[in-house]
Amino acid sequence: MADTAIKTFGGLLARQGILVAFILFMVGFTLWNPRFIDIDNVFGVIRSSAILGVMALGVTFVVIGGNLDLSVGSMLSFSAIVVLDLHENPAFGPALAIPAMFALTLCLGAINGFLVGYLRLNSLIVTLGMLSAIHGLTLTWSGGQNMDIADQGATWFGVFGRGTALGIPIPVLIFVALAAFLGILLAKTPFGRKVYAVGGNPTAATFSGIPRARVVFLTYLISAFCVAVAGLIQASRTMGAQNTVGQGLELEVLAAVILGGASLLGGSGTIFKTVIGVLILGFIQNGLLLAGLQFYVQFVVTWIIIILAVWLDIATKRGKLWSPIA
């Protein structure tokens, strides 16, 4: 009896290890400091994780499809700068600036998708090149200057980053809605199944008649769309942006996705797990701050947690703790 209980628990741990760890972490921190689970604090954490989280949703699609997207950080800078610049342009204004920014960001995603999907180039190098190129584009667009909205009281633009609805911050609502939509798209639709198939075994997917190139192309479009949403939240929250606002985010986003359990080899991962990964990063940061530690301690903790999480995941799959590498 006790034996089966242990086995069931072991199986649960193997399948949902990251969720179990998350719950243990939350319970532990709450016991230590009840303020941790306070509703304002929870909303605060989710709101500050929303930008990273929205980007991670899109990157999850790309990673499950068996590719990487390192260009999301500089793409975020691009979208934030563009939307702010067009907002200040009298010919556009906020109502036109937003769709224009989305169109331009989707074009960048389409370039990624074309190169990786249709031309079948290595995604790491393509998106590395795009990281550099988009950074250059952003600098050219802004002339190296920071962008600011001059008259912040006169515009409704701030609603995406600063507004609330029914007492819930708008960025949180956007994050949750997008996660639900993309979660259903990935788990419940034929397109979602194709993404898994293409990432899990491209050759088999091709022979099954799945248009690999188009599926990969679409994952990059989804990623770019998510970046555009994140850029909108970022620009709206601060009503201004530097050219380097997204610098380094690409690897933090990837860390959240990996923490959620997506394999870099493709074919595994879910939106729900990515959300857990994002929340873990957010709550670690918050917990350490509440404990009176500096923000940079979270980097070290994140390092340890990422490696432990992936290691345990691999170890349960191969049934051995240590690697078989000679």
Binding site: A133, T140, L254, I258, W303, I306, I314, I325
Partner: protein, 333 residues
Amino acid sequence: MKTDILKKLVQNGAIWGFILLQLVFFELAGRYWAGSSTTFIDLDNLLLLLKQSAPIGIIAVGMTIVMVNGNIDLSVGAIYALCGIVLLDSLGWPMMEAMGDGAIPLAMLIALATGCVLGLINGLIVWKTGVDAFIVTLGAMLGYRGLVFMYNGEQPTSNLNWTMVDMAEWGIFGIQTPALVLLFVVLVVWLVMTRTVHGRNAYAIGDNREAAVNAGIRVGPHMLINFAVIGFLAALSAVVFYSGSGSVNPNDGMLFELWAITAVVLGGTKLTGGKGSIIGTLGGVIAIQLLRRGLNHIGADTETVNIVIGTILIVVLLLDRQLNRKASGELKV
């Protein structure tokens, strides 16, 4: 037979041809288009270029051998910053201050040892846990950066030591210390990778790990050595640069890993491992630096550099794929 030699020449010499093309282009464009009064192909200019390539170049050499092994190291930028801080901070310890200038070699040794240890940690985790190097070093990139901040908060660490500055600016035939160190590192690592058992085994492991294991090669120790070497080289790069500059900002070295990878890929090293040359990487490093200075020379904005480098990286990948398509024999869809 003859086409084979030709093909090999094109593949190995492409980066040097590209460098030559850049030199001619920037010289002519500078003279006739931008109306620049100075010549671009000028010994002082080229020597300065070599000196400026040193920090990324030394790291890129390490990145090459890790990538030949089929791994990657994303934590080099953080190691660079941390070792820079260790170098400058250790000079300020009371015990070291008492030693006067004798403390400089000791401080450098401490910094280099730190780099080695950080690299060894990465290598050991990759070896013993079997987690992909990309993930391990991605985590370490965050973790080591956290250590950088923990060392001295968000304040820059400064310690300008004039003896060290003199050492950094010492030169022979106009080639200054950073450039000399870069060339020396290229020579030594090239010898190691082409003339020793370790080098041969590293290529074998990257090319086909299973075959290497079956041939009795121990994969783990070779990976460990290469990670230690890249840690050491990242530290060496920091020692060379910060002896001259004397101040480390906690954000220094960010994106170095991506620049180094760009240079290595331009130099012809394959991400999948088993293929790559140190000399090619030197070419890649010089090509990038040449592009920066050249665009500057013809009066282009600095932001153009990023667009051009990104585009070139993708074009190189595309050309490489077209040239090697027959060999790869992949499924065409």
